[in-house]
Symmetry: C2
Subunit: 282 residues, 2 copies
């Protein structure tokens, strides 16, 4: 199928791009999108073959936009999950030192994650928020008294120098991504017994009352299926009505999992398996 | 105890303020805070007696900041829950008509919620995002060609005119608030058998493995306790490790609920009841 085109949440220099570079091979082309919504649209229209979308972060929790789009775009399936470490760096124009910095620019998230470093090493600097780390890099480029907090990748793109690495408060900062594709494109994916798989599904209990989720989880417990994540999202129809996102170990073609899924489907008014996929660590 | 001081997420004109006005009596004083974090701080220091914090919205889901602060501030207890309808209005300077509007200002959320109205009635207008609806109102005040999307309350504060009501796409837009207080202040709250209560807790299963949440939910199912919400949040220590927030009907002093809670506590490495509280509808 020629060169694969892979969409990510841009602009270049984001952690999403860095994760994409680590995961995809050089024969694949990374395409920058300005929203997660547009990545899903690109997959539907065939503009791209794969999408890399952030799903959850170890500090911030679920990425709700991605969760909601997985529900509303039924043509999508998950091919892989990617665990990517988020390492914030401090970058400056070449020759600028820590003592020269009077202004720090970045997206609110990296700044919020680097409080301790800012308070101890940059306590006199003013903080300005930008829409992306790339926008901050544009501002800092050529400046003799400002710095940007962002990914190491920004150094390659903007020719800025990394003067501090891993400046985040909490070292357990990982983002989990899904590699998604259009179901129409990947009909022929083969299940290999010797590989580690996970499976994700969305369901809504048929009766939204006491014990509904308990009964659903019972189907997994009975079959000894190891659940790795349960998230709820509003159905957007009524306060107090939820969809459940459940991730577990194993492939939907395994016998015990098939059995558990049959039980869950029977108890659900909405039920969709998002895919059985490979686990990739970077 | 004299006049109660009640903190809310400001500035004046927000939906939080409107909810506060509906709930608290005229003898209580509303105090504007610029972050939910600062409301919790105000309660700890005794600067305010009550805090009104948004917990979840029927369209957007959980308010993660509030969830995380309930976990990290153990001095706080929940006194009441409040369900407040979010109704977006279009407001202009007096005398300005729909046809005059070429610019629309608001926080990204009300704009995102009012897509259909904007596309059908204001398709030629440019959209500008502001940090709050109050900031947008400041800009629109005195202008002959711009409008702000926000709460009806903005009309009282800025003397602007409401020219359209309920312009949101989805009419099921409700925000659930908690009224919180310092445990030290409300030692003497009495449980009344004839009132409707809900209880909220946070727990982390002792063993983070297959069936852990299932076993916890089993304690509630056995005692016939009706769960109304389950949310997970990351522990921030390791990707894949979660805290569970569970809400259910009833008061912790009821016999069956006591029994269920004992069972849950036994299976948890972290366990805290946030409070048994009254349900208030506006």
């Amino acid at each position: 199928m020629g060169i694969l085109k892979c969409g990510y949440l841009g602009p270049p220099g984001t952690y999403s791009e860095q994760a994409g570079i680590s995961y995809f091979t050089v024969d694949e082309k990374l395409v920058s999108y300005n929203s997660i919504y547009n990545i899903f649209e690109g997959i539907q229209s065939g503009e791209i073959d794969r999408g890399l979308v952030p799903i959850e972060n170890s500090l911030e929790g679920a990425v709700n936009v991605s969760m909601d789009l997985l529900y509303s775009n039924s043509f999508v399936t998950i091919l892989a999950e990617l665990i990517f470490p988020i390492n914030n760096c401090l970058l400056v124009e070449k020759g600028v030192g820590l003592a020269d910095i009077t202004k720090v620019y970045s997206h609110p998230q990296p700044i919020g994650q680097s409080n301790k470093f800012i308070n101890s090493k940059l306590s006199a600097a003013s903080i300005s928020y930008t829409a992306s780390t790339a926008e901050a890099a544009e501002i800092v480029k050529g400046s003799s008294d400002s710095a940007v907090i962002g990914s190491e990748r920004i150094s390659d793109i903007y020719g800025l120098e990394v003067i501090a690495k891993k400046i985040q408060d909490n070292d357990n900062n990982f983002t989990r991504f899904f590699v998604i594709a259009n179901k129409l494109d990947i009909g022929g994916l083969v299940y290999k017994k010797d590989r580690d798989y996970k499976t994700s599904l969305i369901c809504a209990p048929r009766i939204n009352k006491s014990g509904a989720l308990y009964n659903i989880l019972g189907d997994f417990a009975e079959e000894g299926v190891n659940l790795t994540r349960i998230e709820s999202r509003p159905t957007k129809r009524q306060l107090g009505e939820y969809l459940f996102y459940i991730d577990f170990e194993g492939h939907r073609q395994e016998k015990n999992i098939k059995k558990a899924l049959d039980g869950v489907q029977e108890k659900s008014s909405f039920f969709r398996v998002l895919g059985s996929y490979l686990i990739e660590k970077i």
